[in-house]
Symmetry: C2
Subunit: 281 residues, 2 copies
Protein backbone atom coordinates (compact mmCIF):
# COMPACT_ATOMS: atom_id res chain seq x y z
CA UNK A 1 0.00 0.00 0.00
CA UNK A 2 2.83 2.38 0.77
CA UNK A 3 4.22 3.90 -2.39
CA UNK A 4 7.77 2.90 -3.09
CA UNK A 5 10.03 5.85 -2.39
CA UNK A 6 13.03 4.31 -4.05
CA UNK A 7 14.04 6.55 -6.90
CA UNK A 8 13.28 4.61 -10.07
CA UNK A 9 16.52 4.34 -11.99
CA UNK A 10 16.57 4.12 -15.75
CA UNK A 11 19.77 2.07 -15.54
CA UNK A 12 20.60 0.01 -12.53
CA UNK A 13 24.36 0.13 -12.34
CA UNK A 14 24.85 -1.94 -9.23
CA UNK A 15 22.96 -4.78 -7.64
CA UNK A 16 23.20 -3.92 -3.94
CA UNK A 17 21.38 -0.71 -3.12
CA UNK A 18 23.26 1.83 -1.05
CA UNK A 19 21.39 2.95 2.06
CA UNK A 20 20.53 6.63 2.41
CA UNK A 21 19.39 8.28 5.63
CA UNK A 22 17.52 11.54 6.01
CA UNK A 23 18.08 12.74 9.56
CA UNK A 24 16.33 15.79 10.93
CA UNK A 25 15.23 17.42 14.17
CA UNK A 26 12.01 18.36 12.37
CA UNK A 27 9.99 16.67 9.66
CA UNK A 28 12.99 15.83 7.50
CA UNK A 29 11.26 17.28 4.46
CA UNK A 30 14.15 19.62 3.72
CA UNK A 31 16.75 16.87 4.03
CA UNK A 32 14.66 14.58 1.87
CA UNK A 33 13.78 17.12 -0.82
CA UNK A 34 17.40 18.10 -1.08
CA UNK A 35 18.69 14.54 -0.88
CA UNK A 36 16.36 13.43 -3.66
CA UNK A 37 17.52 16.13 -6.01
CA UNK A 38 21.14 15.18 -5.39
CA UNK A 39 20.50 11.44 -5.69
CA UNK A 40 18.59 11.70 -8.96
CA UNK A 41 21.92 12.73 -10.47
CA UNK A 42 22.99 9.11 -10.03
CA UNK A 43 21.51 6.22 -11.91
CA UNK A 44 21.62 3.95 -8.93
CA UNK A 45 19.04 2.39 -6.70
CA UNK A 46 19.02 3.65 -3.11
CA UNK A 47 17.32 2.26 -0.04
CA UNK A 48 15.94 5.31 1.74
CA UNK A 49 15.28 5.68 5.43
CA UNK A 50 13.68 8.73 7.01
CA UNK A 51 14.61 9.58 10.61
CA UNK A 52 12.55 12.66 11.53
CA UNK A 53 12.14 14.35 14.93
CA UNK A 54 15.64 13.46 16.16
CA UNK A 55 15.54 16.12 18.88
CA UNK A 56 17.27 14.55 21.88
CA UNK A 57 20.62 12.97 22.71
CA UNK A 58 18.95 9.57 23.08
CA UNK A 59 17.28 9.76 19.71
CA UNK A 60 20.54 10.89 18.12
CA UNK A 61 22.35 7.85 19.55
CA UNK A 62 19.54 5.69 18.27
CA UNK A 63 19.87 7.18 14.79
CA UNK A 64 23.66 6.74 14.87
CA UNK A 65 23.13 3.08 15.77
CA UNK A 66 20.84 2.61 12.76
CA UNK A 67 23.43 4.16 10.48
CA UNK A 68 26.13 1.86 11.86
CA UNK A 69 23.88 -1.16 11.39
CA UNK A 70 23.31 -0.26 7.76
CA UNK A 71 27.06 0.03 7.32
CA UNK A 72 27.56 -3.43 8.77
CA UNK A 73 24.78 -4.94 6.67
CA UNK A 74 25.69 -3.25 3.38
CA UNK A 75 29.45 -3.34 3.75
CA UNK A 76 29.37 0.24 2.43
CA UNK A 77 28.99 3.58 4.19
CA UNK A 78 25.42 4.83 4.06
CA UNK A 79 24.88 8.34 2.69
CA UNK A 80 23.52 10.57 5.46
CA UNK A 81 21.70 13.81 4.64
CA UNK A 82 21.11 15.69 7.86
CA UNK A 83 19.63 18.99 8.98
CA UNK A 84 20.30 18.86 12.71
CA UNK A 85 20.62 22.36 14.05
CA UNK A 86 22.01 21.61 17.50
CA UNK A 87 25.75 20.89 17.47
CA UNK A 88 25.58 18.22 20.20
CA UNK A 89 23.06 16.22 18.17
CA UNK A 90 24.79 16.58 14.83
CA UNK A 91 28.16 15.61 16.28
CA UNK A 92 26.69 12.32 17.52
CA UNK A 93 25.44 11.57 14.02
CA UNK A 94 28.73 12.55 12.42
CA UNK A 95 30.58 10.01 14.56
CA UNK A 96 28.64 7.17 12.96
CA UNK A 97 29.96 5.25 9.98
CA UNK A 98 28.33 7.19 7.18
CA UNK A 99 29.18 9.63 4.45
CA UNK A 100 27.86 12.77 6.05
CA UNK A 101 26.09 15.51 4.16
CA UNK A 102 25.46 17.91 6.99
CA UNK A 103 23.45 20.69 5.41
CA UNK A 104 23.55 22.94 8.44
CA UNK A 105 27.24 22.71 9.24
CA UNK A 106 28.12 23.17 5.60
CA UNK A 107 26.06 26.30 5.11
CA UNK A 108 24.98 27.86 8.41
CA UNK A 109 28.48 28.25 9.80
CA UNK A 110 29.84 30.17 6.78
CA UNK A 111 26.67 32.28 6.78
CA UNK A 112 27.29 33.36 10.37
CA UNK A 113 30.60 34.76 9.16
CA UNK A 114 29.06 36.47 6.18
CA UNK A 115 26.12 37.99 8.02
CA UNK A 116 28.10 38.91 11.10
CA UNK A 117 25.46 37.45 13.45
CA UNK A 118 25.14 34.17 15.28
CA UNK A 119 22.43 31.77 14.18
CA UNK A 120 19.70 30.98 16.63
CA UNK A 121 20.36 27.23 16.52
CA UNK A 122 16.79 26.62 17.47
CA UNK A 123 15.32 23.27 16.70
CA UNK A 124 12.90 23.30 13.84
CA UNK A 125 10.40 26.06 13.55
CA UNK A 126 7.47 24.23 15.03
CA UNK A 127 6.74 26.69 17.82
CA UNK A 128 6.24 29.64 15.54
CA UNK A 129 5.16 27.98 12.32
CA UNK A 130 1.54 27.31 13.16
CA UNK A 131 1.08 30.73 14.68
CA UNK A 132 2.72 32.59 11.82
CA UNK A 133 0.75 34.69 9.37
CA UNK A 134 2.34 32.78 6.51
CA UNK A 135 1.08 29.46 7.84
CA UNK A 136 -2.42 30.78 8.42
CA UNK A 137 -2.43 32.16 4.88
CA UNK A 138 -1.51 28.75 3.53
CA UNK A 139 -4.32 27.01 5.41
CA UNK A 140 -6.76 29.69 4.32
CA UNK A 141 -5.55 29.37 0.74
CA UNK A 142 -6.07 25.58 0.83
CA UNK A 143 -9.63 26.05 2.07
CA UNK A 144 -10.29 28.70 -0.56
CA UNK A 145 -8.91 26.54 -3.35
CA UNK A 146 -10.97 23.55 -2.27
CA UNK A 147 -14.15 25.62 -2.09
CA UNK A 148 -13.40 27.06 -5.54
CA UNK A 149 -12.38 23.81 -7.21
CA UNK A 150 -13.93 23.01 -10.57
CA UNK A 151 -16.12 26.11 -10.69
CA UNK A 152 -17.99 25.13 -7.52
CA UNK A 153 -18.28 28.67 -6.22
CA UNK A 154 -18.26 32.23 -7.51
CA UNK A 155 -18.06 33.67 -4.00
CA UNK A 156 -15.22 36.03 -3.07
CA UNK A 157 -13.49 35.64 -6.42
CA UNK A 158 -12.22 39.16 -5.90
CA UNK A 159 -9.95 37.82 -3.15
CA UNK A 160 -8.49 35.08 -5.38
CA UNK A 161 -4.80 35.43 -6.26
CA UNK A 162 -5.05 33.19 -9.30
CA UNK A 163 -7.93 31.80 -11.38
CA UNK A 164 -7.09 28.82 -13.57
CA UNK A 165 -9.16 27.86 -16.60
CA UNK A 166 -8.86 24.94 -18.98
CA UNK A 167 -10.65 21.89 -20.33
CA UNK A 168 -11.52 19.07 -17.97
CA UNK A 169 -8.38 17.08 -16.96
CA UNK A 170 -5.86 19.67 -18.08
CA UNK A 171 -4.30 19.77 -14.60
CA UNK A 172 -6.20 22.62 -12.94
CA UNK A 173 -7.07 20.93 -9.64
CA UNK A 174 -3.64 19.65 -8.58
CA UNK A 175 -2.04 22.91 -9.70
CA UNK A 176 -4.56 24.93 -7.66
CA UNK A 177 -3.92 22.88 -4.54
CA UNK A 178 -0.19 23.06 -5.02
CA UNK A 179 -0.21 26.86 -5.43
CA UNK A 180 -2.25 27.09 -2.24
CA UNK A 181 -0.24 24.63 -0.20
CA UNK A 182 3.25 25.63 -1.28
CA UNK A 183 2.84 29.35 -1.87
CA UNK A 184 -0.30 30.34 0.03
CA UNK A 185 -2.01 31.55 -3.15
CA UNK A 186 -5.79 31.47 -3.15
CA UNK A 187 -6.43 29.68 -6.42
CA UNK A 188 -9.84 29.14 -7.97
CA UNK A 189 -10.30 26.98 -11.03
CA UNK A 190 -12.99 26.83 -13.69
CA UNK A 191 -13.45 24.20 -16.36
CA UNK A 192 -13.98 25.33 -19.93
CA UNK A 193 -16.80 23.14 -21.21
CA UNK A 194 -18.62 22.67 -24.54
CA UNK A 195 -21.42 25.02 -23.36
CA UNK A 196 -18.85 27.80 -22.97
CA UNK A 197 -17.55 27.14 -26.49
CA UNK A 198 -21.07 27.26 -27.94
CA UNK A 199 -21.78 30.54 -26.20
CA UNK A 200 -18.34 31.72 -27.29
CA UNK A 201 -17.80 33.23 -23.86
CA UNK A 202 -15.86 32.61 -20.67
CA UNK A 203 -17.87 31.32 -17.68
CA UNK A 204 -19.94 34.31 -16.60
CA UNK A 205 -18.20 35.03 -13.29
CA UNK A 206 -14.79 35.46 -14.88
CA UNK A 207 -14.55 38.44 -17.26
CA UNK A 208 -14.26 40.84 -14.30
CA UNK A 209 -11.06 39.19 -13.14
CA UNK A 210 -9.16 38.73 -16.37
CA UNK A 211 -5.86 39.95 -14.96
CA UNK A 212 -5.57 36.97 -12.65
CA UNK A 213 -6.73 34.29 -15.05
CA UNK A 214 -4.24 31.73 -16.35
CA UNK A 215 -5.09 29.04 -18.87
CA UNK A 216 -3.81 25.50 -18.93
CA UNK A 217 -3.81 23.72 -22.24
CA UNK A 218 -2.67 20.24 -23.19
CA UNK A 219 -2.24 18.27 -26.40
CA UNK A 220 -5.38 16.45 -27.54
CA UNK A 221 -3.42 13.18 -27.62
CA UNK A 222 -2.31 13.43 -23.99
CA UNK A 223 -5.75 14.60 -22.89
CA UNK A 224 -7.42 11.65 -24.59
CA UNK A 225 -4.97 9.31 -22.84
CA UNK A 226 -5.75 10.80 -19.41
CA UNK A 227 -9.51 10.81 -19.98
CA UNK A 228 -9.44 7.24 -21.25
CA UNK A 229 -7.97 6.11 -17.94
CA UNK A 230 -11.07 7.51 -16.26
CA UNK A 231 -13.76 6.76 -18.82
CA UNK A 232 -12.42 4.25 -21.32
CA UNK A 233 -14.03 4.37 -24.74
CA UNK A 234 -16.29 7.33 -23.93
CA UNK A 235 -17.05 10.15 -26.33
CA UNK A 236 -15.62 12.46 -23.65
CA UNK A 237 -12.26 10.71 -23.97
CA UNK A 238 -12.26 10.28 -27.75
CA UNK A 239 -9.46 11.93 -29.65
CA UNK A 240 -11.98 13.73 -31.88
CA UNK A 241 -13.72 15.31 -28.90
CA UNK A 242 -10.44 16.14 -27.18
CA UNK A 243 -9.22 17.83 -30.36
CA UNK A 244 -12.43 19.84 -30.53
CA UNK A 245 -12.29 20.95 -26.88
CA UNK A 246 -8.58 21.81 -26.84
CA UNK A 247 -8.89 23.73 -30.08
CA UNK A 248 -11.94 25.70 -28.88
CA UNK A 249 -10.36 26.41 -25.50
CA UNK A 250 -7.18 27.74 -27.10
CA UNK A 251 -9.20 29.88 -29.50
CA UNK A 252 -11.16 31.31 -26.59
CA UNK A 253 -8.10 32.03 -24.49
CA UNK A 254 -6.41 33.71 -27.43
CA UNK A 255 -9.51 35.79 -28.18
CA UNK A 256 -9.89 36.85 -24.56
CA UNK A 257 -6.20 37.68 -24.18
CA UNK A 258 -5.65 35.08 -21.47
CA UNK A 259 -2.10 33.95 -20.80
CA UNK A 260 -1.80 30.20 -21.01
CA UNK A 261 0.73 27.43 -20.93
CA UNK A 262 0.80 23.80 -21.92
CA UNK A 263 0.64 21.30 -19.09
CA UNK A 264 1.43 18.37 -21.37
CA UNK A 265 4.98 17.59 -20.30
CA UNK A 266 5.06 19.61 -17.09
CA UNK A 267 4.76 18.46 -13.50
CA UNK A 268 2.44 20.38 -11.19
CA UNK A 269 5.52 21.90 -9.55
CA UNK A 270 6.71 23.20 -12.90
CA UNK A 271 3.30 24.56 -13.88
CA UNK A 272 2.95 26.29 -10.49
CA UNK A 273 6.41 27.83 -10.62
CA UNK A 274 5.83 29.07 -14.16
CA UNK A 275 2.58 30.74 -13.10
CA UNK A 276 4.33 32.32 -10.15
CA UNK A 277 6.90 33.84 -12.49
CA UNK A 278 4.13 35.17 -14.71
CA UNK A 279 2.28 36.79 -11.82
CA UNK A 280 5.37 38.72 -10.85
CA UNK A 281 6.14 39.99 -14.33
Amino acid sequence: MMPDHTIPPSNIASSAARTVFFVSDGTGITAETFGHSVLTQFELRFRQIRLPFIDSIDKAHDAARKINEAYTNDGKRPIVFSTLVKHDLSSIIRQSNGMHMDLIKTFVDPLEQELGVKSTHTIGRSHNVVDSEEYKNRIEAINFSLAHDDGQSHKSLSTADVILVGVSRSGKTPTSLYLAMQYGLKTANYPLIPEDFERGKLPSALPLFKSKIFGLSITAERLSEIRNERMPGSKYASIANCRYEVNEAELMMRREGIRWLSSTAKSIEEIATTILQEIKS
Copy 2:
Protein backbone atom coordinates in the same frame (compact mmCIF):
# COMPACT_ATOMS: atom_id res chain seq x y z
CA MET B 1 -2.33 39.99 -3.36
CA MET B 2 0.89 38.01 -3.43
CA PRO B 3 1.77 36.67 0.00
CA ASP B 4 4.90 38.14 1.42
CA HIS B 5 7.62 35.53 1.28
CA THR B 6 9.95 37.43 3.52
CA ILE B 7 10.64 35.27 6.57
CA PRO B 8 9.00 37.02 9.49
CA PRO B 9 11.72 37.70 12.04
CA SER B 10 11.00 37.87 15.73
CA ASN B 11 13.85 40.35 16.13
CA ILE B 12 14.94 42.53 13.31
CA ALA B 13 18.65 42.94 13.83
CA SER B 14 19.46 45.09 10.87
CA SER B 15 17.56 47.70 8.93
CA ALA B 16 18.61 46.93 5.36
CA ALA B 17 17.47 43.50 4.21
CA ARG B 18 20.08 41.30 2.60
CA THR B 19 19.05 39.98 -0.81
CA VAL B 20 18.81 36.23 -1.29
CA PHE B 21 18.60 34.48 -4.66
CA PHE B 22 17.32 30.98 -5.36
CA VAL B 23 18.74 29.94 -8.71
CA SER B 24 17.77 26.70 -10.37
CA ASP B 25 17.58 24.99 -13.74
CA GLY B 26 14.22 23.59 -12.64
CA THR B 27 11.47 24.93 -10.43
CA GLY B 28 13.83 26.15 -7.72
CA ILE B 29 11.75 24.42 -5.07
CA THR B 30 14.71 22.49 -3.71
CA ALA B 31 16.92 25.58 -3.53
CA GLU B 32 14.13 27.50 -1.87
CA THR B 33 13.09 24.83 0.64
CA PHE B 34 16.67 24.37 1.64
CA GLY B 35 17.49 28.08 1.66
CA HIS B 36 14.50 28.80 3.90
CA SER B 37 15.52 26.26 6.47
CA VAL B 38 19.01 27.73 6.59
CA LEU B 39 17.81 31.33 6.70
CA THR B 40 15.32 30.75 9.53
CA GLN B 41 18.39 30.18 11.68
CA PHE B 42 19.01 33.91 11.44
CA GLU B 43 16.80 36.55 12.93
CA LEU B 44 17.19 38.85 10.00
CA ARG B 45 14.92 40.06 7.27
CA PHE B 46 15.81 38.88 3.78
CA ARG B 47 14.59 40.06 0.39
CA GLN B 48 14.05 36.87 -1.58
CA ILE B 49 14.22 36.46 -5.33
CA ARG B 50 13.42 33.25 -7.16
CA LEU B 51 15.17 32.60 -10.48
CA PRO B 52 13.80 29.28 -11.78
CA PHE B 53 14.31 27.59 -15.16
CA ILE B 54 17.84 28.98 -15.67
CA ASP B 55 18.67 26.38 -18.30
CA SER B 56 20.73 28.21 -20.91
CA ILE B 57 23.93 30.27 -21.07
CA ASP B 58 21.92 33.40 -21.83
CA LYS B 59 19.64 32.94 -18.86
CA ALA B 60 22.63 32.24 -16.62
CA HIS B 61 24.26 35.52 -17.69
CA ASP B 62 20.96 37.26 -17.03
CA ALA B 63 20.78 35.77 -13.55
CA ALA B 64 24.40 36.74 -12.85
CA ARG B 65 23.57 40.30 -13.90
CA LYS B 66 20.67 40.41 -11.42
CA ILE B 67 22.93 39.19 -8.64
CA ASN B 68 25.50 41.87 -9.48
CA GLU B 69 22.80 44.53 -9.52
CA ALA B 70 21.63 43.51 -6.05
CA TYR B 71 25.23 43.75 -4.86
CA THR B 72 25.51 47.27 -6.24
CA ASN B 73 22.19 48.34 -4.74
CA ASP B 74 22.64 46.73 -1.32
CA GLY B 75 26.35 47.36 -0.91
CA LYS B 76 26.50 43.78 0.39
CA ARG B 77 26.97 40.45 -1.35
CA PRO B 78 23.65 38.72 -1.94
CA ILE B 79 23.33 35.15 -0.67
CA VAL B 80 22.88 32.78 -3.61
CA PHE B 81 21.41 29.30 -3.14
CA SER B 82 21.75 27.42 -6.39
CA THR B 83 21.01 23.97 -7.75
CA LEU B 84 22.39 24.24 -11.26
CA VAL B 85 23.46 20.84 -12.46
CA LYS B 86 25.42 21.85 -15.56
CA HIS B 87 28.93 23.08 -14.78
CA ASP B 88 28.95 25.72 -17.53
CA LEU B 89 25.83 27.34 -16.08
CA SER B 90 26.87 27.17 -12.45
CA SER B 91 30.29 28.61 -13.19
CA ILE B 92 28.67 31.69 -14.77
CA ILE B 93 26.64 32.19 -11.60
CA ARG B 94 29.63 31.67 -9.35
CA GLN B 95 31.51 34.46 -11.11
CA SER B 96 28.90 36.97 -9.96
CA ASN B 97 29.31 39.02 -6.79
CA GLY B 98 27.43 36.83 -4.35
CA MET B 99 28.04 34.49 -1.49
CA HIS B 100 27.51 31.22 -3.28
CA MET B 101 25.80 28.23 -1.73
CA ASP B 102 26.10 25.81 -4.62
CA LEU B 103 24.22 22.75 -3.45
CA ILE B 104 25.25 20.58 -6.35
CA LYS B 105 28.95 21.35 -6.40
CA THR B 106 29.13 20.95 -2.64
CA PHE B 107 27.48 17.56 -2.53
CA VAL B 108 27.31 15.91 -5.96
CA ASP B 109 31.04 16.03 -6.62
CA PRO B 110 32.01 14.28 -3.34
CA LEU B 111 29.23 11.74 -3.95
CA GLU B 112 30.72 10.83 -7.33
CA GLN B 113 33.89 9.88 -5.46
CA GLU B 114 32.02 7.92 -2.81
CA LEU B 115 29.76 6.04 -5.19
CA GLY B 116 32.42 5.48 -7.81
CA VAL B 117 30.14 6.56 -10.64
CA LYS B 118 29.74 9.79 -12.56
CA SER B 119 26.56 11.76 -12.05
CA THR B 120 24.30 12.19 -15.03
CA HIS B 121 24.38 15.99 -14.85
CA THR B 122 21.03 16.09 -16.52
CA ILE B 123 18.99 19.21 -16.13
CA GLY B 124 16.01 18.79 -13.85
CA ARG B 125 13.94 15.69 -14.05
CA SER B 126 11.18 17.12 -16.13
CA HIS B 127 11.42 14.62 -18.98
CA ASN B 128 10.77 11.63 -16.82
CA VAL B 129 8.83 13.11 -13.91
CA VAL B 130 5.39 13.33 -15.48
CA ASP B 131 5.68 9.89 -17.02
CA SER B 132 6.96 8.22 -13.87
CA GLU B 133 4.84 5.86 -11.83
CA GLU B 134 5.56 7.92 -8.73
CA TYR B 135 4.16 11.05 -10.32
CA LYS B 136 1.05 9.27 -11.59
CA ASN B 137 0.51 7.86 -8.10
CA ARG B 138 0.70 11.35 -6.64
CA ILE B 139 -1.89 12.72 -9.05
CA GLU B 140 -4.13 9.73 -8.45
CA ALA B 141 -3.71 10.16 -4.70
CA ILE B 142 -4.70 13.84 -4.94
CA ASN B 143 -7.84 12.94 -6.87
CA PHE B 144 -8.66 10.18 -4.39
CA SER B 145 -8.15 12.47 -1.40
CA LEU B 146 -10.33 15.18 -2.92
CA ALA B 147 -13.11 12.71 -3.71
CA HIS B 148 -12.89 11.35 -0.16
CA ASP B 149 -12.64 14.68 1.64
CA ASP B 150 -14.91 15.24 4.60
CA GLY B 151 -16.68 11.89 4.36
CA GLN B 152 -17.97 12.65 0.85
CA SER B 153 -17.56 9.14 -0.44
CA HIS B 154 -17.33 5.58 0.87
CA LYS B 155 -16.24 4.25 -2.51
CA SER B 156 -12.99 2.27 -2.82
CA LEU B 157 -12.04 2.83 0.81
CA SER B 158 -10.24 -0.49 0.59
CA THR B 159 -7.67 1.17 -1.67
CA ALA B 160 -7.04 4.04 0.76
CA ASP B 161 -3.61 4.15 2.40
CA VAL B 162 -4.74 6.32 5.30
CA ILE B 163 -8.13 7.30 6.72
CA LEU B 164 -8.15 10.34 8.99
CA VAL B 165 -10.89 10.99 11.54
CA GLY B 166 -11.44 13.89 13.89
CA VAL B 167 -13.84 16.66 14.80
CA SER B 168 -14.58 19.39 12.28
CA ARG B 169 -11.57 21.77 11.92
CA SER B 170 -9.01 19.51 13.53
CA GLY B 171 -6.78 19.66 10.43
CA LYS B 172 -7.94 16.61 8.47
CA THR B 173 -8.35 18.21 5.04
CA PRO B 174 -4.98 19.95 4.67
CA THR B 175 -3.22 16.90 6.14
CA SER B 176 -4.99 14.59 3.66
CA LEU B 177 -4.03 16.75 0.72
CA TYR B 178 -0.46 17.05 1.93
CA LEU B 179 -0.08 13.27 2.38
CA ALA B 180 -1.40 12.81 -1.16
CA MET B 181 0.64 15.54 -2.78
CA GLN B 182 3.95 14.99 -1.01
CA TYR B 183 3.94 11.23 -0.45
CA GLY B 184 1.39 9.88 -2.94
CA LEU B 185 -0.75 8.40 -0.16
CA LYS B 186 -4.45 7.99 -0.91
CA THR B 187 -5.95 9.65 2.13
CA ALA B 188 -9.64 9.73 2.95
CA ASN B 189 -10.99 11.78 5.84
CA TYR B 190 -14.16 11.55 7.90
CA PRO B 191 -15.49 14.07 10.39
CA LEU B 192 -16.57 12.82 13.80
CA ILE B 193 -19.83 14.63 14.46
CA PRO B 194 -22.33 14.82 17.35
CA GLU B 195 -24.51 12.16 15.65
CA ASP B 196 -21.58 9.73 15.85
CA PHE B 197 -21.12 10.50 19.54
CA GLU B 198 -24.82 9.91 20.24
CA ARG B 199 -24.73 6.60 18.41
CA GLY B 200 -21.46 5.86 20.19
CA LYS B 201 -20.05 4.46 16.99
CA LEU B 202 -17.59 5.35 14.24
CA PRO B 203 -19.12 6.41 10.91
CA SER B 204 -20.52 3.21 9.47
CA ALA B 205 -18.09 2.75 6.59
CA LEU B 206 -15.03 2.74 8.83
CA PRO B 207 -14.89 -0.21 11.24
CA LEU B 208 -13.71 -2.51 8.45
CA PHE B 209 -10.58 -0.45 7.93
CA LYS B 210 -9.43 0.23 11.47
CA SER B 211 -5.78 -0.56 10.77
CA LYS B 212 -5.43 2.46 8.53
CA ILE B 213 -7.38 4.93 10.60
CA PHE B 214 -5.55 7.78 12.33
CA GLY B 215 -7.23 10.30 14.58
CA LEU B 216 -6.45 13.99 14.85
CA SER B 217 -7.34 15.71 18.05
CA ILE B 218 -6.86 19.30 19.18
CA THR B 219 -7.34 21.26 22.38
CA ALA B 220 -10.85 22.66 22.86
CA GLU B 221 -9.38 26.17 23.27
CA ARG B 222 -7.55 26.07 19.94
CA LEU B 223 -10.53 24.49 18.19
CA SER B 224 -12.86 27.19 19.48
CA GLU B 225 -10.42 29.84 18.23
CA ILE B 226 -10.30 28.31 14.74
CA ARG B 227 -14.07 27.80 14.55
CA ASN B 228 -14.72 31.35 15.76
CA GLU B 229 -12.75 32.68 12.80
CA ARG B 230 -15.26 30.93 10.53
CA MET B 231 -18.49 31.31 12.49
CA PRO B 232 -18.01 33.95 15.19
CA GLY B 233 -20.25 33.57 18.22
CA SER B 234 -21.90 30.35 17.00
CA LYS B 235 -22.77 27.42 19.25
CA TYR B 236 -20.54 25.34 16.94
CA ALA B 237 -17.56 27.52 17.91
CA SER B 238 -18.38 27.89 21.60
CA ILE B 239 -15.82 26.59 24.05
CA ALA B 240 -18.49 24.44 25.76
CA ASN B 241 -19.39 22.71 22.52
CA CYS B 242 -15.75 22.32 21.48
CA ARG B 243 -14.98 20.75 24.85
CA TYR B 244 -17.89 18.35 24.41
CA GLU B 245 -16.86 17.32 20.88
CA VAL B 246 -13.15 16.94 21.59
CA ASN B 247 -13.86 14.94 24.74
CA GLU B 248 -16.31 12.62 22.98
CA ALA B 249 -14.02 12.18 20.00
CA GLU B 250 -11.08 11.23 22.21
CA LEU B 251 -13.24 8.81 24.19
CA MET B 252 -14.39 7.18 20.98
CA MET B 253 -10.89 6.90 19.54
CA ARG B 254 -9.61 5.39 22.78
CA ARG B 255 -12.52 2.93 22.92
CA GLU B 256 -12.01 1.89 19.30
CA GLY B 257 -8.26 1.55 19.68
CA ILE B 258 -7.52 4.21 17.10
CA ARG B 259 -4.08 5.82 17.13
CA TRP B 260 -4.34 9.56 17.35
CA LEU B 261 -2.21 12.64 17.76
CA SER B 262 -2.80 16.23 18.68
CA SER B 263 -2.72 18.72 15.84
CA THR B 264 -2.78 21.71 18.20
CA ALA B 265 0.79 22.96 17.85
CA LYS B 266 1.75 21.00 14.75
CA SER B 267 2.03 22.15 11.16
CA ILE B 268 0.49 19.96 8.46
CA GLU B 269 4.00 18.89 7.49
CA GLU B 270 4.66 17.71 11.03
CA ILE B 271 1.34 15.91 11.32
CA ALA B 272 1.89 14.19 7.97
CA THR B 273 5.43 13.11 8.81
CA THR B 274 4.31 11.75 12.18
CA ILE B 275 1.58 9.69 10.52
CA LEU B 276 4.08 8.40 7.98
CA GLN B 277 6.31 7.19 10.82
CA GLU B 278 3.35 5.49 12.46
CA ILE B 279 2.35 3.66 9.29
CA LYS B 280 5.80 2.19 8.99
CA SER B 281 6.00 0.97 12.57
